[in-house]
C-alpha cells in the first residue's frame, strides 16, 4: 500500500513538472525558430498604414477637401444660414424644430468650444466667443466610420476621397455614429418625409432607420457643379472647395498662404476640412 502511494506521488509530481515546463519550452523554441523571419513579416503589415508614429502620409489621387474661412462667416452672419438652407433644400433634409433627438445634420452650426474643444481657452477672440461655426462631415482620409460599418454602406470613394453613403445598404446599426469623432452622422428615428419642407425631385429622401450625413454633393460634382454650400459661400470667400492633392488648385493656394486648423487631429482620422479661425 505504502509503496504504491509513494510511486503515485512521484509520478504525479513528475507529470506536474512536465506540464508546467512544456509551454515554456515550446515558447522558447518557437521564438528562436521564427526570430529571423520576423522583420520580413512585419514590414508589409505596417507599411501600408502610417509611415512612422505621428507622421501624416497623404493619400494619392484626387482628394476633395474644403477650407472654411470663419473670418468671412463672422463678418456675414446670414451667410452660414444661407449655405445651410441651400444644402438642406438640395438634399431633402428634414427639419425637426426644437427636437435635438431627431435632428438631421448635414451642415450645421456649433459654438467654437464644441467644434474645437481641445483648443478652447478662457481668453479667446470675439469671433470664437460669439460666432457660430460651420460644421460638416470631414470626409476623413482615415475614417473611423468606414471601419465600423458592418455592411460597407459607408465607404471611401477611391476616385475622389469622398466618404460616401449607400443608403440601400445601411442597416441602421449606428456603429458609424459611435465611431465618428465629429458627430457628423444622424439617424432617422422616424420617417423624415413629413418634416421636409420642399422636395428636390433630383435627389431621394431617406427612410426610417438609416444613417445620413453630408456627401460633399457627389451628385452635383458629377454634373460639374460645386457643392451647394460652397456655391453660396464662395463669392464671399468663406468656403473654398477643391483637390487637396493638386498643388495648383485654389484650395492649396489658400492652405499654403493661411494657417489652418482641423477638428480633433489627435483622433488620427486625417480630416479633409480645414478651418481658418
Amino acid at each position: 500500500m505504502d509503496t504504491k502511494r509513494r510511486k503515485f506521488l512521484k509520478m504525479a509530481g513528475a507529470a506536474a513538472l512536465a506540464g508546467i515546463g512544456a509551454p515554456a519550452l515550446i515558447k522558447l523554441n518557437s521564438t528562436s525558430a521564427f526570430a529571423s523571419e520576423e522583420p520580413a513579416h512585419e514590414a508589409p503589415a505596417h507599411g501600408g498604414e502610417t509611415a512612422a508614429h505621428g507622421e501624416i502620409a497623404a493619400a494619392t489621387g484626387v482628394r476633395l477637401g474644403m477650407v472654411i474661412d470663419m473670418r468671412r462667416f463672422a463678418e456675414q452672419p446670414e451667410l452660414l444660414d444661407q449655405a445651410i438652407a441651400a444644402c438642406h433644400k438640395v438634399h431633402n433634409v428634414p427639419h425637426f424644430p426644437n427636437d435635438r433627438k431627431n435632428e438631421i445634420k448635414w451642415i450645421w452650426k456649433a459654438p467654437y468650444a464644441n467644434v474645437f474643444p481641445e483648443l478652447d481657452s478662457i481668453h479667446k477672440s470675439e469671433m470664437a466667443k460669439n460666432a457660430p461655426f460651420a460644421v460638416l462631415c470631414n470626409h476623413c482620409d482615415n475614417p473611423s466610420c468606414v471601419k465600423a460599418c458592418p455592411t460597407k454602406a459607408t465607404f471611401v470613394q477611391p476616385e475622389n476621397g469622398i466618404v460616401a453613403m449607400d443608403f440601400h445598404r445601411c442597416i441602421g446599426c449606428r456603429f458609424c455614429m459611435a465611431a465618428c469623432p465629429y458627430g457628423a452622422r444622424s439617424f432617422n428615428w422616424q420617417d423624415p418625409r413629413p418634416f421636409i419642407e420642399t422636395y428636390n425631385a433630383d435627389f431621394p429622401t431617406r427612410m426610417r432607420g438609416v444613417v445620413e450625413k453630408c456627401n460633399f454633393c457627389g451628385e452635383r460634382l458629377a454634373l460639374g457643379l460645386e457643392p451647394a454650400c460652397v456655391e453660396v459661400a464662395k463669392s464671399a470667400g468663406a468656403m473654398v472647395f477643391g483637390d487637396l492633392n493638386d498643388p495648383d488648385s485654389e484650395i492649396r493656394r489658400v492652405l499654403d498662404k493661411e494657417f489652418t486648423i482641423q477638428r480633433n487631429p489627435a483622433a488620427g482620422t486625417k480630416p479633409s476640412v480645414y478651418y481658418i479661425v
Partner: protein, 131 residues
C-alpha cells in the same frame, strides 16, 4: 390499405382546400395588366422585352455604378443622353408611377422598396418649391 374510408376523403378535402385560390378565380389569372406607356417616347434604354424581364437588375447595376463605382457615364437613347437613375431618368418619361410601375407590381404582388426613399413624380410635386 387501412382506414381507406377516412384517408381518401381526407386527402380529397385537402386537395380541394389547397387549390381553392385556383378554382375560386375560375382557373384564370385575371386580366393581364397593361401599364400605361409614355406618350411620344418610343425608345427605352433597352428593348421592351429586356426591360420587362430585367429592369430590376438594370436598376441595381445603375445603383452600384453611380453610388459605389462613381461611374456616372450617361446612357444614350435615340440621340438623347440620360443620367443613370430611377428618379432622374426612368421617371422623366414614365411620369406616372401609379399607372406604370404599380400596375404590374400589384398584379404580381411584389413590393419593391424603391419608393421608401425615391420620390415618385406625384410625391415630388406634392411639396414643390413655390417660386
Amino acid at each position: 390499405m387501412y382506414n381507406k374510408g377516412t384517408i381518401i376523403p381526407g386527402l380529397m378535402i385537402f386537395i380541394v382546400f389547397v387549390t381553392f385560390p385556383l378554382w375560386y378565380n375560375g382557373l384564370s389569372a385575371g386580366p393581364v395588366p397593361k401599364p400605361e406607356l409614355p406618350v411620344g417616347e418610343k425608345e427605352c434604354v433597352a428593348p421592351a422585352k429586356e426591360m420587362r424581364d430585367n429592369h430590376m437588375k438594370l436598376l441595381n447595376q445603375w445603383r452600384d455604378a453611380v453610388l459605389r463605382d462613381d461611374d456616372r457615364v450617361m446612357v444614350k437613347v435615340g440621340g438623347k443622353e440620360y443620367r443613370k437613375g430611377l428618379q432622374t431618368t426612368c421617371m422623366q418619361c414614365h411620369t406616372d408611377k401609379e399607372k406604370f410601375c404599380d400596375t404590374c407590381h400589384t398584379y404580381a404582388a411584389v413590393q419593391p422598396s424603391c419608393w421608401d426613399c425615391h420620390l415618385t413624380p406625384a410625391v415630388a410635386a406634392s411639396k414643390k418649391e413655390t417660386l
